[in-house]
Subunit: 250 residues, 2 copies
DNA sequence: TATCGGGGATGACGCAGCGTGAGGGTCAAG
DNA sequence: CTTGACCCTCACGCTGCGTCATCCCCGATA
């Protein structure tokens, strides 16, 4: 017989949540003292675990109640249904993302086509430092050539290129989160897309591509782009994938 | 100078929404008559369009107000940020889906391991028809062998296999939506995963793999799985990718 | 001009899932 | 008995409107 606070702490939730679940009838205490205190037993704790689990999956509380209370309810079917709903939401967000990309493209169309377009949303001083570092790293001529080539792209093309880079980054991060081997086919496929992306303005050989990977690891700006504060080690992951790619294909 | 209803109809929203936007100061009418009537002009209509656009992207109204009212606000940065947030939610849903898949697997562990596990969530009669069709298509022996092989998998393995198929399907659909060439490396990489998935119970040669692709196109059940009502042509896309793969690699 | 139908306006509750006080009993220890 | 540490019950807040309920207003017709 545990009190609200003990149960809340044990289950990693809040007292208020227990009050709420009691109020909506989702989880009632096993006993209520004459003083009105709520006391929970083993059985209630188990039920709470299940509730919290389903909640983590994103099921609304009403459905959780249905799943747990209706003995005829098929939890498998509920999970499959919920899974489908999640897939649907993912699709929806994908659509939104594509619309956003197009919007970004059209917004940029309103501005003059200059070097800044290629670094939209990036502070000028940061951009300049990147450029200086890039020049030190690969030599002035290569960078100048890249910029000259970039200037020949239309605004739509630039938008598409930026969108592609965003997609590549998202894929890298996803695969990294999933713990996939950098040498695996899936990661190497993304790395291939990345190589072709780089090729928009540059055709690195194996050594240069590996160098770019190291640059992602060593340069704080690039780290920030990929690392995202939540994915420590992601730049190293990408660099490793690039190294493997360079050895195999370049 | 249009009234609420006219504006609402023109913009495809509701009168209540206009009231709400007025109440929170997001969109105020250009003029308010002495009788309290709200009248909107061209300028307000334009602003409403922008509001509705950003809203469709999923931005909270408070942020929309910030974007539209703060002249120093960078809409590009806001869009990029929102895009990242959407990516994050997609990742979150992906995690949920994987957890659901594992849960489904463990739920099934409580049941007897029989053929049904391999077709969890699919109506028995549908499953039986699939089996008959499969037997006609590839011959009874091949199907029986596949089922015998399937029965040797542990429940966890079955769950993993199902999860992998879901992932493959999602990737195919995504690439199809993105309009990628079926012969491209990205699509072929997924097709390779698909081939290895099929190999769990079967090792088709080039002709058989192409036949499987055609089956996806011609069989209504399989169409439903991939087509999703929103992606007409997706089965053909997959079949084409499989044909290319078969010619190149099998 | 009285009337009627189609708007228009202003509250205000509802929904999901609690967070966050406010205001006030209760319990165990010193 | 006092003191903290807990417990309880309201009840508002947040998001973005949908949905009444109640009442006012305008143009057209009889």
């Amino acid at each position: 017989m545990r009190t609200v606070r003990q149960v809340a702490k044990a289950a990693g939730t809040s007292v208020r949540t227990l009050h709420h679940y009691d109020a909506i009838g989702l989880l009632k205490p096993g006993h209520v003292g004459t003083n009105g205190y709520r006391y929970y037993g083993r059985e209630e704790l188990l039920r709470l675990q299940q509730i919290l689990f389903f909640r983590e999956l994103g099921l609304p509380l009403a459905e959780i109640a249905a799943v747990l209370d209706d003995p005829a309810f098929d939890p498998l079917a509920a999970l499959h249904e919920h899974r489908a709903a999640l897939e649907g939401r993912i699709g929806h967000y994908r659509t939104l993302i594509r619309t956003i990309d197009r919007t970004i493209a059209s917004l940029e169309k309103d501005e003059d086509m200059n070097d800044n377009d290629y670094y939209a949303g990036i502070a000028p001083e940061t951009r300049d430092r990147w450029q200086r570092e890039a020049e030190e790293f690969w030599g002035e001529d290569a960078v100048a050539a890249a910029q000259a080539k970039a200037r020949t792209f239309s605004k739509d093309q630039v938008a598409a290129i930026q969108a592609e880079m965003e997609a590549i980054r998202a894929d890298f991060q996803r695969l990294f989160r999933e713990g996939v081997d950098p040498a695996s086919d899936a990661v190497q496929a993304v790395t291939d897309r990345h190589y072709r992306w780089v090729s928009h303005s540059w055709s690195p050989d194996a050594a240069a591509f590996k160098g770019l990977g190291r640059h992602y690891v060593e340069n704080p700006e690039f780290r920030g782009t990929y690392d995202d504060a939540e994915l420590p080690g992601c730049p190293e992951f990408i660099a490793e994938a690039m190294a493997v790619y360079a050895d195999r294909s370049l």
